[in-house]
Protein backbone atom coordinates (compact mmCIF):
# COMPACT_ATOMS: atom_id res chain seq x y z
CA UNK A 1 0.00 0.00 0.00
CA UNK A 2 2.74 2.38 0.94
CA UNK A 3 4.48 1.47 -2.26
CA UNK A 4 1.38 2.12 -4.26
CA UNK A 5 0.30 5.46 -2.88
CA UNK A 6 2.91 7.63 -4.62
CA UNK A 7 2.21 5.97 -7.96
CA UNK A 8 -1.48 6.66 -7.61
CA UNK A 9 -0.82 10.26 -6.83
CA UNK A 10 1.63 10.77 -9.65
CA UNK A 11 -0.81 9.22 -12.12
CA UNK A 12 -3.64 11.30 -10.78
CA UNK A 13 -1.77 14.55 -11.06
CA UNK A 14 -0.46 13.78 -14.53
CA UNK A 15 -3.93 12.96 -15.72
CA UNK A 16 -5.34 16.10 -14.14
CA UNK A 17 -2.89 18.36 -15.88
CA UNK A 18 -3.56 16.72 -19.19
CA UNK A 19 -7.30 17.14 -18.93
CA UNK A 20 -7.84 20.60 -17.55
CA UNK A 21 -8.18 22.05 -21.00
CA UNK A 22 -11.39 20.02 -21.44
CA UNK A 23 -14.25 21.33 -23.42
CA UNK A 24 -16.93 19.94 -21.18
CA UNK A 25 -15.17 20.00 -17.86
CA UNK A 26 -16.25 21.06 -14.40
CA UNK A 27 -12.63 22.01 -13.72
CA UNK A 28 -12.53 24.49 -16.57
CA UNK A 29 -15.14 27.05 -15.47
CA UNK A 30 -16.30 29.76 -17.86
CA UNK A 31 -19.09 31.27 -15.83
CA UNK A 32 -19.66 32.50 -12.27
CA UNK A 33 -21.60 29.41 -11.14
CA UNK A 34 -19.04 26.97 -12.46
CA UNK A 35 -16.21 29.07 -10.99
CA UNK A 36 -17.81 28.98 -7.55
CA UNK A 37 -18.29 25.23 -7.91
CA UNK A 38 -14.77 24.59 -9.20
CA UNK A 39 -13.39 26.45 -6.19
CA UNK A 40 -15.62 24.37 -3.93
CA UNK A 41 -14.46 21.14 -5.61
CA UNK A 42 -10.80 22.03 -5.17
CA UNK A 43 -11.31 23.09 -1.56
CA UNK A 44 -13.15 19.88 -0.64
CA UNK A 45 -10.60 17.79 -2.53
CA UNK A 46 -7.69 19.42 -0.73
CA UNK A 47 -9.27 19.02 2.68
CA UNK A 48 -10.30 15.42 2.03
CA UNK A 49 -6.84 14.56 0.72
CA UNK A 50 -5.30 15.96 3.90
CA UNK A 51 -7.66 13.93 6.09
CA UNK A 52 -6.92 10.82 4.06
CA UNK A 53 -3.18 11.27 4.42
CA UNK A 54 -3.55 11.70 8.18
CA UNK A 55 -5.58 8.50 8.47
CA UNK A 56 -3.04 6.61 6.37
CA UNK A 57 -0.21 7.83 8.60
CA UNK A 58 -2.14 6.74 11.68
CA UNK A 59 -2.57 3.35 10.03
CA UNK A 60 1.01 2.96 8.88
CA UNK A 61 2.74 3.92 12.13
CA UNK A 62 1.85 0.87 14.25
CA UNK A 63 2.78 -1.38 11.33
CA UNK A 64 6.25 0.15 11.15
CA UNK A 65 7.11 1.30 14.65
CA UNK A 66 5.72 -1.17 17.11
CA UNK A 67 8.45 -3.63 18.00
CA UNK A 68 6.57 -6.75 19.03
CA UNK A 69 3.29 -8.55 18.91
CA UNK A 70 1.11 -8.67 22.00
CA UNK A 71 1.25 -11.91 23.90
CA UNK A 72 -1.82 -12.03 26.08
CA UNK A 73 -4.88 -10.54 24.37
CA UNK A 74 -6.86 -9.68 27.46
CA UNK A 75 -4.11 -7.90 29.37
CA UNK A 76 -4.69 -4.27 28.55
CA UNK A 77 -2.80 -1.21 29.70
CA UNK A 78 -5.57 0.99 31.11
CA UNK A 79 -3.48 4.17 31.04
CA UNK A 80 -2.60 3.68 27.39
CA UNK A 81 -6.26 3.10 26.61
CA UNK A 82 -7.21 6.28 28.42
CA UNK A 83 -4.70 8.26 26.42
CA UNK A 84 -6.05 6.69 23.25
CA UNK A 85 -9.56 7.58 24.30
CA UNK A 86 -8.55 11.24 24.53
CA UNK A 87 -6.99 11.08 21.07
CA UNK A 88 -10.04 9.39 19.60
CA UNK A 89 -12.39 11.93 21.20
CA UNK A 90 -10.29 14.77 19.85
CA UNK A 91 -10.36 13.22 16.38
CA UNK A 92 -14.13 12.88 16.56
CA UNK A 93 -14.44 16.46 17.70
CA UNK A 94 -12.27 17.63 14.82
CA UNK A 95 -14.35 15.58 12.38
CA UNK A 96 -17.49 17.24 13.66
CA UNK A 97 -15.97 20.71 13.36
CA UNK A 98 -14.81 20.03 9.80
CA UNK A 99 -18.21 18.69 8.82
CA UNK A 100 -20.04 21.67 10.27
CA UNK A 101 -17.64 23.93 8.39
CA UNK A 102 -18.23 22.12 5.12
CA UNK A 103 -22.00 22.23 5.64
CA UNK A 104 -21.90 25.99 6.15
CA UNK A 105 -19.61 26.37 3.17
CA UNK A 106 -21.96 24.50 0.86
CA UNK A 107 -24.91 26.43 2.25
CA UNK A 108 -23.29 29.75 1.39
CA UNK A 109 -22.17 28.47 -2.01
CA UNK A 110 -25.78 27.58 -2.66
CA UNK A 111 -26.83 31.14 -1.85
CA UNK A 112 -24.20 32.53 -4.22
CA UNK A 113 -25.53 30.29 -6.99
CA UNK A 114 -29.10 31.35 -6.33
CA UNK A 115 -28.17 35.02 -6.72
CA UNK A 116 -26.72 34.63 -10.22
CA UNK A 117 -29.88 34.86 -12.25
CA UNK A 118 -31.89 37.31 -10.17
CA UNK A 119 -31.88 39.94 -12.91
CA UNK A 120 -32.09 37.73 -15.99
CA UNK A 121 -33.63 39.50 -18.97
CA UNK A 122 -33.73 36.57 -21.36
CA UNK A 123 -35.87 33.50 -20.67
CA UNK A 124 -35.38 30.32 -22.64
CA UNK A 125 -37.62 27.30 -22.34
CA UNK A 126 -35.83 24.00 -22.84
CA UNK A 127 -37.86 20.88 -23.40
CA UNK A 128 -36.20 17.48 -23.34
CA UNK A 129 -37.12 14.90 -25.94
CA UNK A 130 -35.73 11.45 -26.61
CA UNK A 131 -32.92 12.35 -27.69
CA UNK A 132 -32.68 16.04 -28.50
CA UNK A 133 -33.35 19.42 -26.90
CA UNK A 134 -36.11 21.74 -27.99
CA UNK A 135 -35.10 25.36 -27.35
CA UNK A 136 -37.69 28.12 -27.29
CA UNK A 137 -36.84 31.77 -26.70
CA UNK A 138 -39.79 33.28 -24.82
CA UNK A 139 -41.07 36.69 -25.82
CA UNK A 140 -44.12 38.73 -24.98
CA UNK A 141 -44.87 39.12 -28.68
CA UNK A 142 -46.01 35.77 -30.08
CA UNK A 143 -44.36 36.39 -33.45
CA UNK A 144 -41.04 36.88 -31.67
CA UNK A 145 -41.09 33.48 -30.03
CA UNK A 146 -38.24 31.61 -31.56
CA UNK A 147 -37.87 27.83 -31.69
CA UNK A 148 -34.67 25.99 -32.46
CA UNK A 149 -32.96 22.83 -31.31
CA UNK A 150 -29.88 21.57 -29.48
CA UNK A 151 -27.78 24.74 -29.75
CA UNK A 152 -28.53 27.57 -27.39
CA UNK A 153 -27.22 31.01 -28.24
CA UNK A 154 -26.93 33.40 -25.33
CA UNK A 155 -25.48 36.86 -24.90
CA UNK A 156 -22.14 36.64 -23.09
CA UNK A 157 -21.84 38.35 -19.72
CA UNK A 158 -25.59 38.40 -19.12
CA UNK A 159 -27.52 36.05 -16.87
CA UNK A 160 -30.07 33.92 -18.69
CA UNK A 161 -32.99 32.09 -17.15
CA UNK A 162 -33.66 28.57 -18.40
CA UNK A 163 -37.08 27.05 -17.76
CA UNK A 164 -36.62 23.36 -18.20
CA UNK A 165 -39.06 20.49 -18.47
CA UNK A 166 -39.64 17.33 -20.46
CA UNK A 167 -42.43 15.81 -22.47
CA UNK A 168 -41.31 12.21 -22.31
CA UNK A 169 -38.80 10.81 -19.81
CA UNK A 170 -36.48 12.49 -17.32
CA UNK A 171 -33.40 14.16 -18.77
CA UNK A 172 -30.83 16.36 -17.10
CA UNK A 173 -29.40 19.55 -18.52
CA UNK A 174 -25.71 19.90 -17.82
CA UNK A 175 -23.11 22.25 -19.29
CA UNK A 176 -20.26 21.67 -16.81
CA UNK A 177 -18.14 24.68 -17.67
CA UNK A 178 -21.08 27.01 -16.97
CA UNK A 179 -23.16 25.47 -14.22
CA UNK A 180 -24.26 22.40 -12.34
CA UNK A 181 -26.95 20.13 -13.69
CA UNK A 182 -30.70 20.20 -13.26
CA UNK A 183 -33.25 17.57 -14.22
CA UNK A 184 -35.97 17.93 -16.84
CA UNK A 185 -38.94 16.12 -15.35
CA UNK A 186 -42.31 15.64 -17.03
CA UNK A 187 -44.94 17.43 -14.98
CA UNK A 188 -42.38 19.68 -13.26
CA UNK A 189 -40.87 22.99 -14.35
CA UNK A 190 -37.37 23.69 -13.07
CA UNK A 191 -35.45 26.93 -13.25
CA UNK A 192 -31.73 27.13 -13.95
CA UNK A 193 -29.88 30.42 -14.24
CA UNK A 194 -26.68 30.47 -16.23
CA UNK A 195 -24.17 33.08 -17.20
CA UNK A 196 -21.13 32.83 -19.46
CA UNK A 197 -18.38 35.29 -18.66
CA UNK A 198 -16.83 35.32 -22.10
CA UNK A 199 -17.93 34.45 -25.64
CA UNK A 200 -17.30 30.83 -26.50
CA UNK A 201 -18.84 27.45 -27.29
CA UNK A 202 -19.57 25.28 -24.26
CA UNK A 203 -20.56 21.68 -24.67
CA UNK A 204 -23.00 19.89 -22.45
CA UNK A 205 -24.92 16.67 -22.52
CA UNK A 206 -27.82 14.87 -20.95
CA UNK A 207 -26.84 13.58 -17.52
CA UNK A 208 -29.82 11.44 -16.59
CA UNK A 209 -30.19 8.06 -18.25
CA UNK A 210 -32.99 8.51 -20.77
CA UNK A 211 -32.97 5.43 -23.00
CA UNK A 212 -31.22 4.09 -26.06
CA UNK A 213 -29.47 7.26 -27.18
CA UNK A 214 -28.69 8.84 -23.83
CA UNK A 215 -25.02 8.86 -24.85
CA UNK A 216 -25.68 10.99 -27.93
CA UNK A 217 -27.80 13.75 -26.49
CA UNK A 218 -25.43 16.66 -26.61
CA UNK A 219 -26.10 20.34 -26.49
CA UNK A 220 -24.07 23.48 -27.00
CA UNK A 221 -24.29 26.84 -25.36
CA UNK A 222 -22.92 29.45 -27.73
CA UNK A 223 -22.16 32.66 -25.89
CA UNK A 224 -21.74 35.69 -28.14
CA UNK A 225 -21.37 39.41 -27.66
CA UNK A 226 -24.73 41.11 -27.38
CA UNK A 227 -24.82 42.59 -30.87
CA UNK A 228 -23.86 39.29 -32.48
CA UNK A 229 -26.52 37.53 -30.45
CA UNK A 230 -29.14 40.07 -31.53
CA UNK A 231 -28.16 39.58 -35.16
CA UNK A 232 -28.44 35.83 -34.78
CA UNK A 233 -31.81 36.21 -33.11
CA UNK A 234 -33.15 38.39 -35.90
CA UNK A 235 -31.88 35.94 -38.53
CA UNK A 236 -33.48 33.02 -36.80
CA UNK A 237 -36.88 34.77 -36.70
CA UNK A 238 -36.96 34.86 -40.51
CA UNK A 239 -38.66 32.07 -42.41
CA UNK A 240 -36.46 29.59 -44.21
CA UNK A 241 -34.37 30.76 -47.12
CA UNK A 242 -35.82 29.92 -50.53
CA UNK A 243 -33.84 27.26 -52.41
CA UNK A 244 -31.26 28.82 -54.70
CA UNK A 245 -30.25 26.05 -57.12
CA UNK A 246 -32.41 23.67 -59.13
CA UNK A 247 -31.15 20.77 -57.09
CA UNK A 248 -32.11 22.52 -53.90
CA UNK A 249 -35.54 23.32 -55.36
CA UNK A 250 -35.99 19.64 -56.17
CA UNK A 251 -34.82 18.90 -52.65
CA UNK A 252 -37.52 21.11 -51.18
CA UNK A 253 -40.16 19.29 -53.21
CA UNK A 254 -38.82 15.96 -52.04
CA UNK A 255 -38.67 17.20 -48.46
CA UNK A 256 -42.37 17.97 -48.63
CA UNK A 257 -43.28 14.74 -50.40
CA UNK A 258 -41.17 12.24 -48.51
CA UNK A 259 -41.13 11.21 -44.81
CA UNK A 260 -39.18 14.33 -43.67
CA UNK A 261 -42.31 16.42 -43.67
CA UNK A 262 -44.13 14.13 -41.25
CA UNK A 263 -42.02 15.21 -38.28
CA UNK A 264 -39.92 18.27 -39.07
CA UNK A 265 -40.81 21.92 -39.40
CA UNK A 266 -39.34 24.35 -41.90
CA UNK A 267 -40.71 27.83 -41.33
CA UNK A 268 -42.34 29.39 -44.37
CA UNK A 269 -43.16 26.02 -45.98
CA UNK A 270 -46.05 23.64 -45.39
CA UNK A 271 -43.72 21.43 -43.33
CA UNK A 272 -44.96 21.96 -39.78
CA UNK A 273 -44.07 18.90 -37.73
CA UNK A 274 -43.32 19.57 -34.08
CA UNK A 275 -42.15 16.17 -32.89
CA UNK A 276 -38.62 16.50 -34.24
CA UNK A 277 -36.09 19.35 -34.37
CA UNK A 278 -37.09 22.51 -36.20
CA UNK A 279 -35.01 22.65 -39.41
CA UNK A 280 -35.80 26.22 -40.50
CA UNK A 281 -32.19 27.30 -40.02
CA UNK A 282 -30.48 23.96 -39.69
CA UNK A 283 -27.48 24.96 -41.80
CA UNK A 284 -26.67 27.74 -39.35
CA UNK A 285 -26.02 25.17 -36.59
CA UNK A 286 -22.63 23.69 -35.91
CA UNK A 287 -23.73 20.13 -35.26
CA UNK A 288 -26.28 17.55 -36.29
CA UNK A 289 -28.30 14.96 -34.40
CA UNK A 290 -27.92 16.60 -30.96
CA UNK A 291 -24.20 17.20 -31.02
CA UNK A 292 -23.38 13.83 -32.57
CA UNK A 293 -21.94 14.96 -35.92
CA UNK A 294 -20.38 18.21 -37.03
CA UNK A 295 -22.36 20.06 -39.68
CA UNK A 296 -21.12 19.22 -43.17
CA UNK A 297 -22.57 18.05 -46.44
CA UNK A 298 -21.16 14.58 -45.98
CA UNK A 299 -22.46 14.23 -42.42
CA UNK A 300 -25.90 15.50 -43.42
CA UNK A 301 -26.07 12.89 -46.16
CA UNK A 302 -24.79 10.16 -43.85
CA UNK A 303 -27.28 11.04 -41.15
CA UNK A 304 -30.27 11.09 -43.49
CA UNK A 305 -29.17 7.91 -45.26
CA UNK A 306 -28.56 5.86 -42.14
CA UNK A 307 -29.73 7.45 -38.89
CA UNK A 308 -30.11 4.02 -37.31
CA UNK A 309 -26.48 3.25 -37.97
CA UNK A 310 -25.33 6.47 -36.32
CA UNK A 311 -27.83 6.62 -33.47
CA UNK A 312 -29.40 3.15 -33.16
CA UNK A 313 -32.82 3.38 -31.59
CA UNK A 314 -33.32 7.07 -32.29
CA UNK A 315 -36.71 8.15 -33.59
CA UNK A 316 -35.46 9.15 -37.05
CA UNK A 317 -36.39 6.25 -39.35
CA UNK A 318 -34.51 5.11 -42.41
CA UNK A 319 -36.33 6.69 -45.34
CA UNK A 320 -36.12 4.84 -48.60
CA UNK A 321 -34.35 7.46 -50.74
CA UNK A 322 -32.41 7.07 -53.96
CA UNK A 323 -28.97 8.62 -54.28
CA UNK A 324 -30.29 11.54 -56.32
CA UNK A 325 -33.10 12.17 -53.92
CA UNK A 326 -30.67 12.16 -51.02
CA UNK A 327 -28.36 14.62 -52.73
CA UNK A 328 -31.23 16.93 -53.54
CA UNK A 329 -32.52 16.95 -49.97
CA UNK A 330 -29.02 17.58 -48.63
CA UNK A 331 -28.60 20.45 -51.09
CA UNK A 332 -31.88 21.92 -49.89
CA UNK A 333 -31.00 21.61 -46.20
CA UNK A 334 -27.58 23.07 -46.76
CA UNK A 335 -29.22 26.23 -47.99
CA UNK A 336 -31.28 26.67 -44.81
CA UNK A 337 -28.87 29.08 -43.20
Amino acid sequence: MKRFAPIAFATAIALFLQGCAGWQSALDPKGPAASELAWLIWFFTGLCAAVWVLVMIALALPLMMRPRERAEPLVIDADADNRKLRVVMTAIGLTAVILVGLTLLSFFANRTLAAIGSDAALTIRITGHQWWWEVRYEDATPSHILTTANEIHIPAGEPVRLLITSTDVIHSFWVPSLSGKLDLIPGHMNVLDIKADKPGVYRGQCAEFCGAQHANMGTFIIAEPREKFDAWWNDQLQPAAAPMSDEAKAGEDLFLKRPCVMCHKVGGTPAGGTVAPDLTHIASRQTLAAGTLTMSRGNLAAWIADPQGIKPGSHMPVADLSGDELNAIVAYLEGLK
Binding site: R258, P259, Q308, G313, P317, V318, A319
Partner: protein
Protein backbone atom coordinates in the same frame (compact mmCIF):
# COMPACT_ATOMS: atom_id res chain seq x y z
CA UNK B 1 -42.07 -36.86 -19.94
CA UNK B 2 -41.23 -34.39 -17.22
CA UNK B 3 -37.78 -34.04 -18.73
CA UNK B 4 -39.23 -33.28 -22.12
CA UNK B 5 -41.42 -30.57 -20.65
CA UNK B 6 -38.52 -29.17 -18.71
CA UNK B 7 -36.46 -28.92 -21.87
CA UNK B 8 -39.22 -27.77 -24.19
CA UNK B 9 -40.69 -25.10 -21.96
CA UNK B 10 -37.61 -22.85 -21.88
CA UNK B 11 -37.09 -23.37 -25.61
CA UNK B 12 -40.62 -22.31 -26.41
CA UNK B 13 -40.31 -19.44 -23.99
CA UNK B 14 -37.08 -18.41 -25.65
CA UNK B 15 -38.54 -18.38 -29.15
CA UNK B 16 -41.62 -16.46 -28.08
CA UNK B 17 -39.57 -14.02 -26.06
CA UNK B 18 -37.01 -13.38 -28.75
CA UNK B 19 -39.65 -12.40 -31.20
CA UNK B 20 -41.46 -10.25 -28.72
CA UNK B 21 -38.47 -8.37 -27.34
CA UNK B 22 -36.31 -7.80 -30.42
CA UNK B 23 -35.70 -4.18 -31.29
CA UNK B 24 -34.75 -3.86 -34.95
CA UNK B 25 -34.75 -0.30 -36.09
CA UNK B 26 -33.34 -0.79 -39.54
CA UNK B 27 -35.60 -1.98 -42.36
CA UNK B 28 -36.00 -5.72 -42.25
CA UNK B 29 -35.71 -6.53 -45.89
CA UNK B 30 -34.74 -10.13 -45.13
CA UNK B 31 -38.35 -10.78 -44.23
CA UNK B 32 -39.60 -9.77 -47.67
CA UNK B 33 -41.75 -6.82 -48.48
CA UNK B 34 -44.79 -8.33 -46.87
CA UNK B 35 -46.82 -7.13 -49.80
CA UNK B 36 -49.71 -9.32 -50.78
CA UNK B 37 -52.55 -8.87 -53.19
CA UNK B 38 -55.07 -7.33 -50.85
CA UNK B 39 -58.65 -8.09 -51.80
CA UNK B 40 -61.39 -5.84 -50.54
CA UNK B 41 -63.51 -8.85 -49.73
CA UNK B 42 -62.73 -12.30 -48.48
CA UNK B 43 -65.76 -13.75 -50.28
CA UNK B 44 -64.71 -15.98 -53.12
CA UNK B 45 -66.59 -18.56 -55.12
CA UNK B 46 -65.68 -22.04 -54.07
CA UNK B 47 -65.00 -21.43 -50.40
CA UNK B 48 -62.87 -19.03 -48.44
CA UNK B 49 -59.31 -18.31 -49.38
CA UNK B 50 -56.78 -18.66 -46.60
CA UNK B 51 -55.80 -15.22 -45.38
CA UNK B 52 -52.39 -14.20 -46.67
CA UNK B 53 -49.67 -13.89 -44.08
CA UNK B 54 -45.92 -13.98 -44.17
CA UNK B 55 -43.07 -13.44 -41.76
CA UNK B 56 -43.09 -9.70 -42.00
CA UNK B 57 -46.61 -9.19 -40.72
CA UNK B 58 -46.10 -11.70 -37.94
CA UNK B 59 -42.77 -10.26 -36.85
CA UNK B 60 -44.32 -6.85 -36.42
CA UNK B 61 -47.54 -7.93 -34.86
CA UNK B 62 -46.06 -9.96 -32.02
CA UNK B 63 -43.23 -7.56 -31.24
CA UNK B 64 -43.65 -5.28 -28.25
CA UNK B 65 -41.15 -2.72 -29.50
CA UNK B 66 -42.77 -2.33 -32.91
CA UNK B 67 -46.22 -2.09 -31.36
CA UNK B 68 -45.10 0.68 -29.06
CA UNK B 69 -43.37 2.47 -31.92
CA UNK B 70 -46.64 2.19 -33.83
CA UNK B 71 -48.42 3.74 -30.90
CA UNK B 72 -45.97 6.63 -30.81
CA UNK B 73 -46.30 7.24 -34.56
CA UNK B 74 -50.09 7.06 -34.31
CA UNK B 75 -49.88 10.06 -32.02
CA UNK B 76 -47.10 11.83 -33.90
CA UNK B 77 -48.78 11.55 -37.28
CA UNK B 78 -52.03 12.82 -35.85
CA UNK B 79 -54.06 9.76 -36.80
CA UNK B 80 -56.29 10.84 -33.93
CA UNK B 81 -57.26 13.87 -35.98
CA UNK B 82 -59.75 11.62 -37.78
CA UNK B 83 -59.79 8.42 -35.77
CA UNK B 84 -59.84 10.03 -32.30
CA UNK B 85 -57.70 7.66 -30.24
CA UNK B 86 -59.34 4.76 -32.03
CA UNK B 87 -62.86 5.75 -31.07
CA UNK B 88 -63.70 7.17 -34.47
CA UNK B 89 -64.73 10.62 -35.66
CA UNK B 90 -64.36 11.81 -39.16
CA UNK B 91 -62.76 8.46 -39.91
CA UNK B 92 -64.03 5.08 -38.77
CA UNK B 93 -63.52 3.74 -35.28
CA UNK B 94 -60.55 1.41 -34.89
CA UNK B 95 -61.39 -0.11 -31.55
CA UNK B 96 -64.27 -2.26 -32.68
CA UNK B 97 -64.26 -5.47 -34.58
CA UNK B 98 -65.64 -3.94 -37.79
CA UNK B 99 -63.14 -3.73 -40.60
CA UNK B 100 -64.36 -2.22 -43.84
CA UNK B 101 -61.35 -3.45 -45.80
CA UNK B 102 -60.33 -6.54 -43.89
CA UNK B 103 -58.73 -7.03 -40.52
CA UNK B 104 -55.45 -8.63 -41.57
CA UNK B 105 -52.13 -6.85 -41.07
CA UNK B 106 -51.73 -6.75 -44.83
CA UNK B 107 -55.06 -5.07 -45.37
CA UNK B 108 -54.39 -2.40 -42.77
CA UNK B 109 -50.91 -1.89 -44.19
CA UNK B 110 -52.43 -1.44 -47.64
CA UNK B 111 -55.02 0.97 -46.26
CA UNK B 112 -52.39 3.22 -44.75
CA UNK B 113 -50.04 2.97 -47.70
CA UNK B 114 -52.48 3.37 -50.54
CA UNK B 115 -55.37 5.15 -48.89
CA UNK B 116 -59.05 4.29 -49.27
CA UNK B 117 -62.04 6.08 -50.81
CA UNK B 118 -63.99 8.54 -48.62
CA UNK B 119 -61.07 10.30 -47.06
CA UNK B 120 -58.24 7.96 -46.00
CA UNK B 121 -55.17 9.53 -47.63
CA UNK B 122 -52.28 7.54 -49.07
CA UNK B 123 -49.07 7.68 -47.06
CA UNK B 124 -47.07 5.71 -49.62
CA UNK B 125 -44.05 8.02 -49.83
CA UNK B 126 -44.58 9.85 -46.58
CA UNK B 127 -44.09 6.99 -44.17
CA UNK B 128 -41.30 4.43 -44.62
CA UNK B 129 -42.61 0.93 -45.13
CA UNK B 130 -41.51 -0.47 -41.77
CA UNK B 131 -43.19 2.37 -39.96
CA UNK B 132 -46.41 1.58 -41.85
CA UNK B 133 -46.15 -1.98 -40.59
CA UNK B 134 -45.68 -0.67 -37.07
CA UNK B 135 -48.77 1.50 -37.40
CA UNK B 136 -50.75 -1.40 -38.82
CA UNK B 137 -49.72 -3.63 -35.92
CA UNK B 138 -50.71 -0.97 -33.42
CA UNK B 139 -54.06 -0.37 -35.10
CA UNK B 140 -54.82 -4.06 -34.85
CA UNK B 141 -53.92 -4.00 -31.17
CA UNK B 142 -56.51 -1.27 -30.59
CA UNK B 143 -59.24 -3.86 -30.90
CA UNK B 144 -57.47 -6.46 -28.83
CA UNK B 145 -55.96 -8.40 -31.73
CA UNK B 146 -52.35 -8.23 -30.56
CA UNK B 147 -51.04 -10.69 -27.97
CA UNK B 148 -51.56 -8.97 -24.65
CA UNK B 149 -48.00 -9.78 -23.58
CA UNK B 150 -46.72 -7.59 -26.42
CA UNK B 151 -49.44 -4.93 -26.65
CA UNK B 152 -48.64 -1.43 -25.37
CA UNK B 153 -49.79 -0.28 -21.97
CA UNK B 154 -51.25 3.09 -21.06
CA UNK B 155 -49.59 6.37 -21.95
CA UNK B 156 -48.54 9.02 -19.47
CA UNK B 157 -51.45 11.18 -20.65
CA UNK B 158 -55.03 11.76 -19.70
CA UNK B 159 -56.75 8.44 -20.02
CA UNK B 160 -58.74 8.17 -23.23
CA UNK B 161 -59.53 4.47 -23.18
CA UNK B 162 -58.21 1.34 -21.49
CA UNK B 163 -54.68 0.56 -22.61
CA UNK B 164 -54.20 -1.86 -25.46
CA UNK B 165 -52.86 -4.66 -23.29
CA UNK B 166 -56.09 -4.58 -21.32
CA UNK B 167 -58.42 -4.55 -24.30
CA UNK B 168 -60.97 -7.32 -24.19
CA UNK B 169 -60.07 -10.10 -26.54
CA UNK B 170 -61.08 -9.47 -30.14
CA UNK B 171 -63.27 -12.55 -30.17
CA UNK B 172 -65.54 -11.21 -27.44
CA UNK B 173 -65.51 -7.59 -28.52
CA UNK B 174 -68.76 -6.19 -29.77
CA UNK B 175 -70.76 -9.17 -28.61
CA UNK B 176 -73.02 -8.06 -25.81
CA UNK B 177 -72.82 -10.30 -22.76
Amino acid sequence: MRCAVAVLFPVVLMLVACQREERDTRPQSALGSGEQPTPVTTLEPGGQRPSPTDNKAASFEANAFHLSEGKRLFGWFNCSGCHANGGGGMGPALMDEKWIYGSSMESIHATIRDGRPNGMPSFRDKIPDDQIWELAAFVRSLSGNAPSSAAPSRNDDMMAHPSENRMPNAATLGKSP
